[in-house]
């Protein structure tokens, strides 16, 4: 088991998804149980399904000075940075620590592949890209990290993590290590993924896309609803914190299923290892966990396995739910969006239920919430599991827990 870590203070955080721009909009959507999922209208011949689309991206070009990075994914990154004063908080951290002492670790699954898809739909007669898309930086996975580093004027480590749907959870772990080793004094973490043909048609080809809004943990669930989102968090060392500060990153756990590229380990062994590691790094027992924001994609297999893992590892007093009925599965951004949902639970003493599920699968234990519940949350976890059997669990704590 890993040794406990020194907790990191989360001094700013934000999420923008189909459930709204910024934390207040997300909290309101969660409280009023209003879904962000809408009938799919993305692309020329949309598949009959529901999507979590961020409204207004088409009319929100990047400022001219960032024209080289122009694409849907970086537009969403820029929109996400504006929410909750995150941009100002990030710039203040840069001024406080120095541009080369703030690490930038961002997650994405498909980054700006949508720009490459667009180029292939509009190739010149000689097979080259149309002139406005001849920008190598938007046709590479690090498009996201490179853009945000430029937008924030950061000069320290800048890297894009791409481990499918665990990407923007793993960024917390990588940033913690960089800070612990002294490579950086603070870190901006997060993730952005946008709707594109690859994910809509790719997940559809795998038979994983639901024709109706996703219903996590419902015995009649029919698959996932794909969404897009951006989210960010600022991590700083504990020793700079005032008394009563928080919330905190208390721990994280990472593991591999070593089982299958697109299907979880049947007993959830990888998920259990990641959870156990996160608890060990936070020096907490399962009984201390008030809430778990589950991966809960509404795919048959994920929900069945994850429900069993929660039922086996946690007491009946722990609460657990999936928030994907609000946002859809935002893939490489799911880790950060659900970290923000988990932090909202801690900050507001409010746990979202599982939207769109009418009843619960037989695999579910007493932990899983259908309805929202109001209760103090001191310690909470967030699960993120990706293709390739890539798992990450984050553990957060309220003010006073570190």
């Amino acid at each position: 088991m890993p040794a406990p870590i020194v907790p990191l203070r989360i001094t700013a955080h934000t999420a923008t998804s189909a459930a709204g721009r910024g934390r207040a909009a997300l909290l309101e959507a969660l409280r009023t149980r209003s879904t962000g999922l809408t009938p799919n209208d993305f692309g020329a011949a949309p598949l009959p399904c529901f999507i979590g689309r961020v409204a207004g991206l088409e009319d929100a070009p990047l400022p001219a000075r960032f024209a080289n990075w122009e694409c849907r994914n970086n537009r969403l990154a820029w929109l996400g940075l504006q929410a909750d004063g995150f941009l100002e908080a990030a710039l203040a951290a840069r001024a406080r620590y120095g541009a080369d002492r703030v690490a930038l670790v961002l997650g994405t699954s498909t980054s700006s592949i949508g720009a490459s898809e667009e180029a292939y739909r509009a190739l010149e007669p000689d097979g080259s890209y149309p002139p406005h898309l001849r920008r190598p930086i938007v046709h590479t996975p690090h498009s996201l990290g490179d853009f945000v580093a430029a937008a924030l004027g950061l000069e320290g480590p800048s890297v894009t993590v791409a481990t499918a749907c665990s990407s923007s959870a793993k960024v917390f772990a990588q940033a913690e290590r960089l800070i612990r080793n002294g490579v950086a004094d603070a870190a901006i973490v997060g993730g952005v993924d946008t709707l594109c043909g690859s994910v809509l048609y790719g997940f559809n080809a795998l038979g994983l896309v639901s024709p109706e809004p996703c219903r996590p943990f419902d015995p009649e669930r029919r698959g996932i609803s794909i969404g897009e989102a951006a989210g960010f968090a600022l991590l700083e060392k504990r020793d700079a914190a005032a008394p009563g500060a928080g919330p905190w990153l208390l721990g994280y756990g990472e593991s591999s299923d070593a089982h299958h590229m697109s299907s979880p380990h049947p007993e959830g062994l990888g998920a259990r290892l990641a959870m156990a590691d996160a608890l060990a790094r936070a020096a907490l027992a399962p009984e201390a966990i008030d809430y778990v924001n589950m991966h809960g994609t509404a795919s048959q297999k994920n929900d069945e396995v994850e429900a069993q893992v929660i039922a086996a590892m946690f007491p009946a007093t722990t609460r657990a739910s999936s928030s994907k009925g609000w946002t859809g599965h935002t893939l490489g951004a799911a880790g950060i969006v659900e970290a923000v949902v988990t932090l909202l639970a801690i900050e507001h003493g409010f746990m979202p239920g599982t939207l769109n599920a009418r009843t619960l699968d037989a695999a579910c234990g007493p932990q899983i919430l259908l309805d929202n519940e109001t209760r103090a949350v001191r310690h909470a976890a967030s699960n993120s599991f990706g293709f390739g059997g890539n798992n990450c669990v984050l553990l957060f704590g309220a003010a006073g827990t570190a």
Partner: protein, 266 residues
């Protein structure tokens, strides 16, 4: 912002530098073999998968397995860091082309192989390793960012780590914008402490790029063999490893670099 790790296993593969045994003398200045090798066929995959595996998976698994074998460390005991500048450009070309022509025909297997962590996934499945694995990209600075994350894991958790970096050629319309040629994979098994397995000590330091010493050019045989591949920037480190001692650097971004000093352990 500095540390020390130990290199327990080294692997390198490109068609004209097929394996560390073949590459090391070329890195020391000898002529490369005249006949390029076809892509590697990693023994970790079942024979049918070996043929069907994407190029990224074939090259990544080849160097990952070779580095582990050289170190004598069981792959099951190593967390892994995989880094690729562009991921599988052939699959990206396939997806973009199919989406433009007939989106309904996207292959489910090609789609799940398109994730940037496909090689990491096949590696953990093939070796039965349940430890953490990650997959990174940082454009021109991918090798440096993969290496510092690996060194960071070695230092933070006092564990040996497998680091494997790979890039393949751009094809189709993608090749008109994305520069990536050939097939190149490079791996290391890095350890926190010196052991009987250690072949070199690697001292590292994060510096401003302006403070970097001028780097000696690579031998022509090496430079020609890996020209146009984004990971060619890793070769000065491998030259130092082939010589058993010396300095090298890799960039971490537009402003920072990792300054590396290799010294022999044997």
């Amino acid at each position: 912002m500095k540390g020390t790790a130990f290199v327990d296993g080294i692997a390198l593969w490109s068609p004209r530098l097929p394996g560390w045994e073949a590459a090391a003398p070329v890195l020391r200045g000898e002529a490369p073999p005249s006949e390029p090798q076809p892509r590697p066929a990693p023994a970790l995959l079942a024979p049918t998968e070996r043929r069907r595996a994407p190029d990224t998976v074939a090259i990544a698994l080849e160097v990952a397995a070779a580095a582990c074998q050289a170190s004598g460390v069981d792959p099951k005991t190593l967390p892994s860091v995989f880094a690729s500048t562009q991921g599988d450009l052939a699959i990206s070309d396939y997806l973009c082309r199919t989406l433009a022509e007939n989106a309904g025909e996207v292959s489910p297997t090609k789609f799940h192989n398109s994730v940037h962590n496909a090689a990491a996934g096949y590696w953990t499945i093939g070796t039965g390793c349940m430890l953490p694995s990650t997959a990174l990209s940082a454009f021109e600075h991918t090798f440096g960012q993969g290496l510092i994350e690996s060194l960071s894991q070695v230092a933070a958790d006092a564990t040996p780590v497998l680091f494997a970096a790979y890039d393949i050629a751009a094809v189709g319309p993608m090749a008109t914008v994305t520069t990536s040629r050939g097939l190149l994979g490079a791996a290391l098994v890095l350890a926190p402490a010196r052991s009987a397995r250690s072949v070199a000590q690697l001292a590292w330091r994060v510096v401003r790029r302006g403070d970097l010493p001028t780097e000696e050019p690579l031998p022509a045989g090496v430079a020609d063999s890996v020209a146009g591949n984004p990971l060619a920037s890793a070769l000065p480190l491998y030259r130092a490893l082939a010589r058993g001692a010396g300095g090298a650097s890799v960039t971490l971004g537009p402003h920072q670099a990792l300054l590396l000093e290799v010294s022999a352990c044997r």
